[in-house]
């Protein structure tokens, strides 16, 4: 039954129920907005009245002013753009390279066994510890930051996607074998398409991880980006700048996460 047909044949009870659901949704949204406004209001008030020192805690009006200044000087979108770009390149490369490595491991079980302890160590290692090495090797530029973001996500991706590959039903592989399928055909027909949900969920995790890699990278080397802005703000004791970059970072990260979730939804719909 299509939505329109449903609308025509709506019983009063169903209409009342739908109204209730809608009202609840609106109420929740209003409460969320109210909470934000209240918190910002208290913060601002505390700074004005002098309960807190805005020099070290910053204040909403100061943050707003900083954003406007950044916008006027044309730096706002430069910094956002740099960081977002580094992150997107980082998690995309991390996911693609991780998946390629997972395919290689799936292809050669002996290799997978040989590399197993190395992957365990690499996975446990806090990747940001490799920062200094990366800077020496890659120089202090954007490429070092992207490598950082990539490193943070690639090992998790390898392990996750490889585990996904190994979960393909053995009966399914057997069926393809009885058709005379080659290893490449088994990969192409069953393993890869069957692992798309795993790969998308790896992508989802990698978005978060890449932000960590990028911000740490920017802390260490950069001349632009939100991480750079935060560190710079801290060094010159301009807490408004620090808070501004953190808040923009939060919003940007959330938007990117939602974009990936949307991508996942689109994929699921396409699959149906």
């Amino acid at each position: 039954m299509s939505n329109r047909e449903q609308a025509i044949s709506l019983s009063p009870e169903q209409a009342a129920y739908l109204r209730k659901v809608r009202r609840r949704k609106i109420n929740i949204f209003l409460s969320q907005v109210l909470l934000l406004v209240t918190l910002l209001g208290i913060w601002e008030l505390a700074a004005i009245v002098g309960w807190i020192n805005p020099f070290i805690t910053s204040q909403p009006s100061g943050i707003l002013k900083t954003i406007v200044n950044l916008y006027n000087s044309g730096d706002l979108f430069l910094h956002i753009g740099v960081t977002v770009w580094e992150t997107i390149v980082g998690f995309t490369l991390g996911t693609i390279l991780g998946t390629i490595f997972a395919i290689i491991l799936w292809w050669s079980e002996p290799l997978a066994r040989v590399l197993d302890p190395y992957l365990v160590v690499l996975n446990s290692l806090p990747k940001v510890a490799l920062g200094p090495i990366i800077i020496v090797w890659m120089g202090s530029g954007v490429s070092a930051i992207i490598v950082m973001a990539l490193l943070v996500s690639v090992v998790v991706t390898i392990l996750g996607v490889y585990a996904g590959f190994s979960q393909v039903d053995p009966d399914r592989v057997k069926l393809l074998k009885t058709f005379g399928a080659s290893k490449g055909q088994i990969l192409q027909k069953a393993v890869l398409p069957g692992s798309v949900p795993t790969i998308i969920s790896a992508l989802k995790i990698n978005v978060g991880l890449s932000w960590v890699g990028v911000i740490v990278g920017e802390f260490l080397v950069s001349k632009a980006g939100l991480g750079y802005l935060a560190v710079y703000g801290g060094q010159v004791f301009r807490l408004n700048l620090v808070m501004t970059s953190v808040i923009i970072l939060g919003v940007a990260a959330a938007i990117m996460y939602l974009a990936v979730v949307l991508l996942e939804k689109l994929f699921i719909r396409w699959q149906q």
């Binding site: 009966d171 057997k174 009885t178 058709f179 399928a181």
Partner: protein
């Protein structure tokens, strides 16, 4: 007498693992003739799946050999079609894309093979569903689609490894009826592995009983049932059915502790 389609000659299969050696099958010999429907029953872990794997050419026996049409099996044989426990339809492929999977893998998609698949789908009521996805079909229809996928590569012999065990009881009865009908109508030979003695008797013309591991052939029962309509469901009402059932049940010697 004509040459058997499948000759299993004195097969021994041993598995090796760090824990030790497992002899799964010992001295199995079996002839299957064109058009026969053989059921294999046996205690859990006695090597039934192993036997099917050997016939399919997926597993090389430790000793002995299998010949199909007189030719020894080496590697996967094109004359064998395999039906696993669950239908294994690929959920991201339409029914049409699913049933041509084997042809696609074998690079045999031609106008002619497409036409023969189309005819199979039409004959067995799935043509209208060719663009549907597996999840939109009932369990029975999915099983039929899986069977057509196997028939599409034109195998001479079908191997069914507990092919209905994932279905609920009612569906299972209907599906086994359908599958039996389709297999007879297409003139195929079949070997069915099952845990269900009633299913084994009602579908097959011979029931092979295996012993506990290492699996050897304990007995072979030629099944003759007097029923008007020769379908598995109707055959369960035949007067001889109980006899066969009791005899096979005793031979299986299943103890529940």
């Amino acid at each position: 007498m004509a040459r058997p389609l499948v000759q299993v000659k004195d097969i021994v299969v041993k598995y090796h693992s760090p824990e030790g050696e497992t002899t799964a099958l010992e001295n199995i010999s079996l002839d299957v003739f064109q058009g026969q429907f053989i059921s294999i029953v046996g205690p859990s872990g006695c090597g039934k799946s192993t036997l099917l794997n050997v016939v399919a050419g997926l597993l090389e026996p430790t000793q002995g050999e299998v010949a199909i049409n007189g030719r020894p099996v080496e590697g996967v044989s094109a004359s064998v079609g395999y039906m696993p426990q669950t239908d294994q339809l690929f959920e991201w492929r339409s029914i049409w894309k699913n049933v041509i999977l084997g042809l696609e893998v074998q690079n045999k998609l031609t106008a002619e093979t497409r036409e023969s698949v189309r005819q199979l789908l039409e004959r067995y009521g799935l043509w209208e569903f060719r663009n549907a996805f597996p999840r939109q079909l009932s369990g029975g229809m999915r099983q039929r689609a899986a069977l057509i996928r196997t028939l599409a590569i034109k195998p001479e012999i079908l191997l069914l490894d507990e092919a209905f065990s994932a279905l609920d009881y009612q569906t299972r009865l209907v599906v086994s009826d359908e599958v039996k009908k389709i297999i007879s109508r297409e003139g195929k030979t079949a070997i069915l592995v099952t845990h269900d003695i009633s299913e084994a008797i009602s579908m097959a013309d011979h029931v092979v009983v295996l012993t506990r591991r290492p699996g050897t052939i304990k007995s072979i029962h030629k099944i003759v049932l007097t029923c008007q309509e020769h379908t598995p469901i109707k055959c369960r009402e035949a007067p001889e059915f109980r006899d066969y059932f009791n005899r096979i049940w005793k031979e299986l010697d299943i103890h529940v502790q």
